[in-house]
Amino acid sequence: MAAVQAGLPVRLESIAGELPLPVFVGITNELEMRYPNQPLTNESQSHILGSVAGSAPRPPADRPVLRHPDTSMDKLEAWSPPQSPGISPPRSPSAYRSYPYGAQRNGTDTLLVHDAKVPGRPSVPQENSSPSHYSVKLQPEQPVITRVASVERLVERLEVDYSDDPWRITEEQREYYTNQFRSLQPDLSALIMGTVAKNFFTKSKLPIPELSHIWELSDVDKDGALTFPEFCTAFHLIVARKNGYPLPETLPATLRPGFVEAGVVTAPPSEATLPLIVFDENMMPGANQLKMGSVDLQGTSRPGVTAKQEARDESRKPEFSPKRIPEPHEKTIQHVSTLKPDSPQELDANMKSRTRPRSYSSTSIDDAMKKVEEPPTPPPRPQKTHSRASSLDLNKLFQQSGQGSRPSQHSLSAKSGWLPPPPALPPRPPATQIFSFLPGSEKSSQKAVQQPNFADFSKFREEESSLRGLSTEDLTPPKSESTVVHQGHAPQKPVRRKLHPESQSATPPSATPYSAATLTKSTQRPPPKQKREIQMAIRKNRETNAVLTRLNSELQQQLKVVHRERVTLESQLELPRPVTST
């Protein structure tokens, strides 16, 4: 792994130096192999990226560890920024992005190709697409690969910014932060008060001194409130910290509010790559949808997703990305919605989880989300027959997620007030499995639609364990919360559950590969019943979450009041003292 990682950086750097290729350059030669014919330098570079990305995923294949992918991801991400400016369509970036989205669509959290969980084989075949569709191809292929590889990579990528800099905010992250900010404060130009921000960030389960330090770093105007850039900075620091990055002593240049703002502004334009831009655009709508928590989105997203997947082979990038974005959103929404019937109701906590785009948020967020979710009343985990989940150790999943395993994140959504983990988490194979299940279970048309997407992953699916399938299910289910989604996959349980399966699936990427058929069978058989049960459980959990959230906020208020009283009393005590002493 280390070698691979080291190799990746080397590659990435070399690539970056040449051209602003998609981030995926890092993956190594595989991409190059794949796109040997790319006449354009860009393309070739993108090839390299793709190959690098492909290779990256591969090496880590045996390591479900997130860390490795992180490094590779980081490298990849680093590349993406330079590339986005327009070089050959940043396949990788879009690919990555699409992957997460795609994964979400398919219910697979696997982020990106980078996670070489699955051997790069899928990518290889896919890369043959024409150079023009280079980027597109990469995406399709990469998605496959990434799917297999694992969502972790993507998540990691998300977590880590491009430019080899974990302190740079990626577009997906920015979208995510924007949504989170909106959940706290609809007006993007207004401030988030200190107490509000404190409650929000406390959900991340970071120790208070660290949160205090993060606040100090991000509140540059020292006004006790956070502007949007400051909020992005703080959130990003939290995300980084949750992923294991030590907190810096001073604010990195890339996180300064001025930079953050500029980044926001410039990011979209700089994203020459269509996919990226599209993503952003799509994300927003998706995000909005998420907020609405409308199930409809899910339905719509699904078709879009499937379309995307199909179009992948073409130069659909632009379409692809848009679809992907909504897809992830929808997925997130689905999760969220499932957990909380009315996303709008939940307040900040809920909003956060809902608006959190699964795909966008980095794994760290997912981790944070996971952690946040955990504190809230943990819904009864395996309520329903979780054919897949049963084998999973949900607790482990949580832990894993907490450790930064992105994979399971996507499913987390909704439960806790924290944002649901970004969808792109679980390793690809799981996603593929899920997809495979879907086809098998023939749930709804949506599922069917997804199937085509899954087809690509079918090969991976076989390998993946049923767990993955669960995770993918989670992804897919969110989409059609009311629909069959749950059918095939037992794990419709509360969002938490999804996380578990995912996380678990992530952990054992090479887990015992359950035959997809087996899984599908089990899942399919009682789909309707399970679905209903799961839905009910989800609703219950949501309600519980809502209640707990309210309770928590009330307690916080009381705590503040008590604090004030205490300070007042202390000062009062001091006053009379001089009298007595004299």
Binding site: S212, W215, D223, G224, H563, V567, P578, S581, T582
Partner: protein, 129 residues
């Protein structure tokens, strides 16, 4: 009640003595602020000035509007420190303290663990010495 939120001394060997000095100086501070009838809104009133000189050192006091007291103990041999310099030091301390207070994660009454605060204090102490 009177536990120090933050205490720092440059020559760390004699730290305990400074702890004691600061604690005893609190009486003087309270005495000064109790005697003030008007509201302590004035900067000048916040700055209490030389609390009492001893053979080895001088103690300066400053109190905020929320009755948080700052005490600076300087070596008597350090004659280069003038009153306005002490005032500026207190002003910086007050600003840093306000920044710490602005942090929603900081609970009033907790020991100050802010690194920014530490760095400002260190800089100040280095300048004074």
């Amino acid at each position: 009640m009177n536990c120090p939120l933050y205490i720092r001394s440059v020559p760390t060997q004699g730290e305990l003595k400074f702890h004691y000095t600061v604690h005893t100086s609190l009486d003087v501070v309270e005495e000064k602020i109790s005697g003030v009838g008007k509201a302590l809104a004035d900067q000048r009133e916040l700055y209490l000035g030389l609390l009492y000189p001893t053979e080895d050192y001088k103690v300066y006091g400053y109190v905020t509007n929320s009755k948080v007291k700052f005490v600076i103990v300087v070596d008597s041999s350090n004659t280069s420190l003038r009153d306005n310099e002490i005032r500026s030091m207190f002003r910086k301390l007050h600003n840093s303290f306000t920044d710490v207070m602005c942090n929603p994660f900081y609970n009033p009454g907790d020991p100050i663990q802010s690194k920014a605060f530490d760095s400002i204090v260190s800089t100040m102490m280095v300048q004074a010495c």
